[in-house]
Symmetry: none
Subunit: 232 residues, 2 copies
DNA sequence: CTTTACTATACAACTATACAACTTTTAATT
DNA sequence: AATTAAAAGTTGTATAGTTGTATAGTAAAG
């Protein structure tokens, strides 16, 4: 087998072992050619294969960069799961894990600005991108304000559509908090990632045009596949 | 007598007369074929005989290189690459293939007697004798104990000198293990030998006067050109 | 008739070298 | 501290030269 192909395989192995991480630079062509004991053009040929596969791309004068295939999930004033994904020509899907109606906790009541005696609706969903589960969301919604929410959501599988039916034509983020967590075994299983894989966790409130909170929610994103793009 | 054999004898005579010196290139096949007034394939046949004898080695795209016969590499209590070669009136040279800082593997930590959480410095080098690459070494050194090792080594290109600068005036072998391996295509290219050529592999630990391990390393020698001389 | 030695030609794979275009780093200057 | 200029380093491109390999053909020897 030709040398350039073997080097290609060697580099591909390093890439899959995460020796070179998405967004980072590879060693320069000169360094690589010395490492493998071949001419620079031979290295270039190996690299070309990886560029053709979309794994690498190069910038003249700068270097060779590992392509970041992570989905860019936009977080701005209006965050819409399905629309976010459709905009990038991917296929979204939402499945419901569970729902529950119970009394609000103190924090939930505070964030939804409701009385803590009131009941809330809890919905947990998994969001899939091109059939790969990558997003888990836990929503808290006032059951007093939206008693039919779950019935409608179950059919629509969309927060935006459900709220529209309930007369809320627009809503937007009051705030968003981003933290990092490690996946436990249950989450890892749900999100098709490894145990201890880093997860991005967002905690946020969506409110309507009258600034009244609609939902107090938390969303976990698989860090290996999704990056959050914050907008202003 | 056939033409190719006469050319072979003529070339062999030139080689023994040191007309072409170890590490240097022969004239290209095209030049030789014109010189002898024969087709290139005839020259190739003559050269093949010399390659089979291990006297010549060819590198596609580069040329045909003169090799030397077996070098006696001494392995005793103190093994010093450059000194070993200088003692036999040959010219040593060291080039760096790559370096890497990462966490120690279990075996590395055990052999260096360090905590497996500590970071190690990995250095891969090629050792040349009279300009012929014949020795490849992979070293593992505690990055915690010698944080500046690579910077110094990069300039000195000598373990002995680097350690002296770092305050280690002497070091010696704790043990040496010798095994045999076959060259894969990448190693073959680096070491100017054929694929599947036998390599002598030594695995060893160098320690300081206080018996504390300094490096846990492995060295590959091209079996066709180097023989190990064990001393006590 | 088959084998061997040699020629002829063509192309693929790899090296060597040089320079252009561009970016990043370094140093000097203000 | 900020700006600017020079230097060094990176990828892109072009050209020529080298060995490896495949195919086809010719001539001589057994």
């Amino acid at each position: 087998m030709s040398i350039y192909y073997q080097i290609y395989e060697s580099l591909k192995k390093d890439l899959s072992n995460n020796l070179y991480k998405p967004g980072e630079k590879l060693p320069s062509e000169n360094v690589l050619s010395k490492r493998f004991g071949v001419n620079r053009h031979t290295i270039r040929r190996s690299l070309q294969l990886l560029k053709d596969e979309g794994i690498l791309f190069s910038k003249r004068g700068s270097g060779i960069i590992v392509h970041d295939n992570r989905f860019k999930y936009k977080i701005g004033k209006r965050v819409r799961f399905s629309q976010n994904i459709l905009n990038e020509n991917y296929v979204p899907e939402t499945t419901i894990l569970r729902s529950e109606i119970r009394k609000a906790s103190k924090i939930e009541a505070k964030n939804l600005e409701i009385n803590s005696k009131h009941e809330i609706l809890l919905i947990e969903t998994i969001g899939k991108i091109n059939n790969v589960p990558s997003i888990k969301t836990k929503r808290i919604i006032s059951n007093k304000r939206f008693p039919d929410f779950f019935d409608i959501f179950q059919k629509q599988l969309s927060i935006t559509k459900t709220l529209k039916i309930l007369g809320v034509n627009d809503f937007f983020r009051k705030n968003t908090l981003v933290t990092a967590e490690q996946a436990d075994s249950i989450q890892a299983n749900l999100l098709h990632c490894k145990i201890n894989s880093p997860l991005l966790k967002t905690t946020y409130i969506n409110q309507d045009l009258n600034l009244i909170p609609i939902e107090y929610s938390q969303t976990w994103f698989v860090g290996e596949r999704i990056q959050l793009a914050l907008e202003n």
